[in-house]
């Protein structure tokens, strides 16, 4: 019995290379973290985050729970390869330890155990062990078969599209595909020659040995097995398979409380490398399944970033609806990664690849718009009024006057003293500029609006536009409660400040991307609608809701294609023949009402129509009640 054979060299080279490489890369990444993030990571190491990370690594990286839930067949494919391979390594190592000559063997002894120990006794334990090993190999091979089928017929595993690959990826993929079949054949031939093996390798081996010179044929297949493993490990850092080591690091960083933020840095870099190119985002993307644009999805953005390609089109030609982020099984903050690229106005990549892409260097470009002068010279005649409540309609609401009038009616019915901030002239809230990557210009508009809000001394700001709502909440320094009108109306209902009639209209509610996936407000508008009408549920709602197509985040998509997305979305929403399609975003309303035969209305309009003429006497201010609600929730 031999202890070493030259064929293990490719495997050994690959294995030690990838181990050392992973450690070095992680150290580099750690050193590039900001001081605060380093502390977070260190604290995370000694807290519950560590345990949670281990659990998440097991559930997501090995079992692939999220993919299993969304697409069972695809999930099985990923699970069989990841979890199956993991178990094969664990059981293989144990096997080498228990049945091998010595304990604590080098890794190649476990991987090529059958070659060095063709028949290891006939004890019951040995037979059970052989059976387990065969079972695991069969488990992996079944997944591999699905993977091969998926490559050519994505529909089988429930995918509409599969990811397009480059040459480098194809070589690595072929190497990965060869690993397990070559192991099967090599083990089978060896077992056939020695009359060992269980149901898979034993049977196949006996059959092959019946007409082939098994002993001499096995040797080249052991070489093939070792070579494919070696090639796969060497190519791993420059292909999408880098996600295998990186994802572990990502999960640990995320559980320690590190987020993407708005600048290029380690976390964004780790996220980009953690993308496994599974293609779940392509399936979720409306730009893909409606307009047929299949090159801008996160998979391709991340890959272009890894290769330092020009990403201008990929970064900007996106609705930022967040459907891909919701679908991503790795949990990459896709929109934040994209925004970093939009803010980079130099048009040059932020990173440069060194050593054929095995290492990357961060480039510090001079910011393109470094001018200190003010961009906007706003001459305004806005007269600030002192009020408790400010109503900020937003640019888009001025194009849908129905919403504006409905809100004024509601304010009147609620006896609220309101200053209509942008009634005559109003500046943009700044979010469209921010989405275009022009943060500095956006800041000028934010300062202009903040100034007006401060001067009016209001305690509450109601806006009708979810786009404005998000930036008011995230980027304004104002001491004012920000409410979207759905929340405001919900408060009025809870306070019994207004009485409503009940109409028996069938209403479908469309979640706007900005209010739903971005702001996380799903319940309030639904409560409001169901207070005055019959709310019917549709498959595309809440986190799975569609984008109307007219998102301000997309600067490149021509109006004809935006229209196609709107037509598709409204077709799905009106499948159950509702009386009204309700939404809570003026932009969605404007877009849908152009293409819909069914009436499209904002929730404010639906509610305003049903205001009862008999009003309740009991009027309390909504803000007091909100505080009570918060206390109830907390206590």
């Amino acid at each position: 019995m031999k202890d070493f054979d030259p064929f293990v060299i490719p495997f050994n080279v690959g294995l030690y290379f990838i181990l050392i490489y992973s450690v070095v890369r992680c150290v580099i990444w750690f050193r590039q973290l900001s001081r605060a993030d380093k502390l977070r990571l260190q604290r995370g190491f000694f807290s519950r985050a560590f345990g949670e990370s281990l659990r998440e690594i097991f559930m997501e990286s090995l079992i692939h729970r999220k993919i299993l839930k969304a697409k069972p067949v695809l999930g099985y494919m990923h699970m069989s390869l990841a979890f199956g391979w993991f178990l094969l390594i664990v059981f293989g190592t144990l096997e080498a330890d228990i049945f091998g000559k010595s304990h604590l063997n080098p890794p190649y002894k476990a991987i090529f155990f059958r070659f060095f120990n063709p028949g290891h006794g006939n004890s019951l334990l040995a037979e059970i062990w052989e059976f387990i090993m065969d079972l695991l190999l069969a488990f992996i091979l079944s997944g591999l078969l699905l993977a091969i089928v998926k490559r050519f017929l994505p529909g089988v595993v429930g995918m509409k599209k599969t990811t397009k690959l480059r040459l480098r990826d194809k070589i690595a993929l072929t190497a990965l595909w060869l690993v397990f079949p070559s192991r099967l054949i090599a083990e089978s031939l060896t077992c056939g020659a020695h009359g060992s093996g269980s149901f898979l390798t034993g049977t196949t081996g006996a059959w092959l040995a019946s007409f082939l010179p098994a002993e001499s044929l096995a040797y080249p297949f052991w070489w093939l097995y070792s070579l494919s493993l070696g090639v796969f490990f060497i190519l791993l850092p420059v292909t999408r398979y880098m996600h295998i080591p990186t994802e572990l690091f990502l999960i640990f960083m995320r559980n320690s409380g590190i987020t993407t933020g708005d600048k290029a840095g380690t976390f964004a870099e780790v996220e980009v490398h953690s993308c496994s190119s599974c293609g779940m985002c392509i399936d979720a993307c409306q730009m893909s399944f409606v307009t047929g644009i299949n090159n801008i999805q996160p998979v391709y953005l991340h890959r272009a970033l890894r290769n330092n390609e020009d990403v201008t089109e990929k970064a900007y030609n996106c609705l930022m609806c967040g459907r891909c982020e919701e679908a991503c099984p790795v949990g990459i903050e896709v929109s934040a990664v994209r925004m970093i690229q939009r803010r980079n106005k130099t048009g040059k990549p932020l990173y440069e690849n060194r050593w054929m892409g095995y290492f990357r260097e961060h480039l510090n470009h001079e910011p393109a718009s470094s001018g200190k002068t003010q961009n906007y010279k706003i001459r305004s005649n806005i007269r600030v009024e002192k009020a408790d409540t400010i109503y900020f309609a937003g640019c888009m609401t001025h194009l849908t006057p129905g919403i504006k009038e409905a809100m004024i009616k509601i304010f009147r019915a609620a006896n609220e003293k309101v200053w209509f901030m942008d009634e005559v002239e109003g500046a943009c809230c700044g979010r469209p500029l921010m989405l275009a990557g022009n943060d500095r210009e956006a800041r000028e508009l934010i300062n202009f609006n903040s100034d007006l809000i401060w001067k009016s001394g209001a305690s509450k700001l109601v806006t009708s536009c979810p786009i404005c709502y998000n930036i008011f909440r995230s980027s304004y320094y104002i001491d004012t409660e920000i409410l979207h009108h759905s929340q405001y109306i919900k408060n009025l209902i809870d306070n019994e400040a207004i009485r409503f009639n009940y109409s028996h209209k069938k209403v479908v509610y469309h979640d706007p991307c900005e209010l739903g996936r971005v702001a996380g407000i799903y319940e309030e508008p639904r409560d409001v609608v169901s207070w005055v009408a019959d709310l019917v549920s549709v498959p595309e709602e809440a986190e799975k809701s569609l984008c109307c197509g007219n998102s301000l985040a997309n600067i490149f998509l021509p109006p004809s294609k935006k229209n196609a997305i709107a037509v598709d979305a409204i077709k799905r929403l009106t499948a159950g023949n509702p009386d009204i399609v309700a939404t809570s975003c003026p932009l969605c309303k404007k877009t849908f009402s152009r293409v819909s035969k069914t009436r499209v209305a904002d929730i404010a309009e639906i509610v305003a129509e049903e205001i009862s003429s008999v009003q309740s006497k009991r009027i309390r201010t909504a803000s007091v009640n909100l505080r009570e609600m918060v206390n109830q929730l907390l206590g």
């Binding site: 900007y316 106005k345 048009g347 393109a368 718009s369 470094s370 001018g371 961009n375 906007y376 010279k377 706003i378 001459r379 305004s380 640019c395 888009m396 001025h398 194009l399 002239e425 109003g426 500046a427 943009c428 469209p432 500029l433 989405l435 275009a436 022009n438 210009e441 508009l445 007219n550 301000l552 600067i555 490149f556 998509l557 021509p558 109006p559 004809s560 932009l587 404007k590």
Partner: protein
């Protein structure tokens, strides 16, 4: 305007001098945002414009000047856009107006090396 001393002015000749004009910026926008060609200069975008309430900003004017190749005024004023997107919604021709402005800024940056954008 030379002088206003005598209560009347001398007007510059109003001939479009295509020899002196530079259509490079317009060509860049045509290449990157083909819907720019659809514009009929109706002025709906300028009428609804948020930025136009506070500043001198008319997308219609800029479109005309850019197509003529008179880039001096657009270079100054194109910064004033607030990107709010109302103009796209009112455009009767389906021009991706924000795309026009985005690419015009890019063109000024790339072709003229104007780092201000």
């Amino acid at each position: 305007m030379k002088s206003n001393k005598f209560g009347f002015t001398l007007s510059e000749p109003r001939v479009i001098d295509y020899e002196a004009n530079n259509r490079q910026i317009a060509e860049y926008i045509f290449d990157h945002e083909p819907t720019f060609r659809l514009c009929i200069e109706c002025g709906a975008c300028a009428a609804t414009c948020t930025a136009g309430q506070f500043m001198t900003f008319s997308l219609r004017e800029l479109n005309v000047l850019l197509k003529r190749g008179e880039n001096d005024i657009p270079r100054q004023r194109i910064k004033n856009c607030m990107f709010c997107g109302k103009c796209i919604l009112v455009c009767p021709r389906g021009v991706n107006t924000r795309g026009v402005i985005f690419h015009a800024r890019e063109a000024f940056r790339k072709i003229e090396g104007n780092e201000r954008f």
